[in-house]
C-alpha cells in the first residue's frame, strides 16, 4: 500500500531526480490523484522559495579585516 505518508517522504527525492522505476510510478500516480499531497508538495516549494530569501549573516568587521589584511600582504610580496 502506497499512502500519503510514503508520498510526503519521497518529495525531495523526486525533486532531485533520485526516484526511478516502480517507486517513481507509484509516487506520481499517488500525487496525481491526492489533493492533500499536492498541497503538501506545493507548500514545500513555497517553503523553499522563502528559504532562498532569508538574508545572509553579516561578516563581523574583525573577520573581514583580518582576512583582507592577509590578502594585501600576500599581494604586496
Amino acid at each position: 500500500m502506497f499512502g500519503c505518508r510514503d508520498a510526503t517522504l519521497l518529495m525531495t527525492d523526486e525533486r532531485e531526480g533520485a526516484l526511478s522505476g516502480w517507486v517513481r510510478a507509484k509516487y506520481r500516480a499517488h500525487v496525481f490523484v491526492c489533493v492533500y499531497c499536492r498541497r503538501y508538495r506545493r507548500q514545500l516549494e513555497q517553503t523553499l522559495a522563502l528559504s532562498k530569501e532569508v538574508p545572509p549573516d553579516e561578516v563581523p568587521a574583525r573577520v573581514e579585516e583580518s582576512a583582507v589584511a592577509a590578502f594585501r600582504s600576500r599581494s604586496g610580496t
Binding site: G3, R5, T12, Y40, L50, P56, D57, A70, F71
Partner: protein
C-alpha cells in the same frame, strides 16, 4: 569524489591570484554564513567557529596558488574550514556531528498526522496564497530562521547550504563527506520541519 567545477570560478580565481581586493572581500562576505554553519557543527560555539573562519581565510590566502580547480572554489574553501574545525573539535573533545546520523529513510516529521494505511488524518491546512505582502514575507522568513536555530547542527548545515545558499548537492556532499542519500534525508527532514513551522505561522499561532 565527484568533480564539481563551480560556474565562473576560473575568472574569480584569476582575479584573486592577481590580488583583486574587491573580489576577495566579496568572497569573504558571501562565504561567511556557509563557513560559520560548517564550523559550528564541529566546534559548537559560534565564537570558536569565528576563529576557525579567520584561520581559514589565512590558509586560503596562502594556498590560492595551489588550488587546482578540481572542485568548486567554495567547496575547496569549505573543506579547508572543515578540516580545521574537525581538528579543533577533536582537541576540545566535542562529539562528531554525524555519529547519530541515521542512514535509514527519512522519518515523518509529524507522524500523528497520518492514520491507517498512511493516509492523511490531519491534512495540510490551506495557506493563504498571498504571503506577497512584504511584512508577511518578512515574518515568514523570520519563522524559518527561528526554526533553523532549533535544528540539529548537521541538518541545519545541509538546509542552509542547499536552500539558503543554493549550493549543489555535489558541493554539499563533498564538503561534508556524506553520501547523496544521507544528504537528501537531512535535507528532506529539514524542509518538512520548516514547512510545519510555516504552517503554524499561517494558522496564526506562535512560531
Amino acid at each position: 569524489v565527484t568533480v564539481d567545477p563551480g560556474q565562473g570560478d576560473a575568472d574569480l580565481v584569476r582575479r584573486l591570484r592577481a590580488g583583486d581586493e574587491a573580489a576577495f572581500r566579496d568572497l569573504v562576505r558571501r562565504m561567511h554564513r556557509p563557513l560559520m554553519k560548517l564550523g559550528t557543527m564541529w566546534v559548537g560555539s559560534p565564537a570558536v567557529a569565528e576563529e576557525v573562519v579567520q584561520e581559514t581565510w589565512l590558509a586560503v590566502v596562502a594556498q590560492i596558488d595551489r588550488f587546482e580547480e578540481r572542485s568548486s572554489l567554495r567547496t575547496w574553501i569549505g573543506s579547508i574550514l572543515v578540516n580545521r574545525a574537525k581538528t579543533r573539535g577533536a582537541r576540545d573533545k566535542r562529539s562528531v556531528p554525524f555519529s547519530s546520523l541515521s542512514t535509514e529513510d527519512a522519518e515523518v516529521v509529524e507522524p500523528e498526522r497520518f492514520g491507517k494505511g498512511g493516509f492523511w488524518r490531519q491534512p495540510p491546512a490551506k495557506w493563504d496564497d498571498a504571503p506577497d505582502a512584504l511584512t508577511l514575507r518578512k515574518e515568514a522568513r523570520e519563522a524559518i530562521e527561528k526554526e533553523l536555530e532549533a535544528f540539529p547542527p548537521a541538518q541545519r548545515t545541509v538546509v542552509v547550504l542547499r536552500d539558503l545558499e543554493e549550493w549543489s548537492s555535489v558541493e554539499v556532499c563533498n564538503v561534508l563527506e556524506i553520501s547523496e542519500t544521507n544528504q537528501r534525508v537531512l535535507l528532506h527532514r529539514g524542509r518538512m520541519r520548516l514547512r510545519a513551522a510555516l504552517e503554524r505561522y499561517h494558522r496564526g499561532g506562535k512560531v
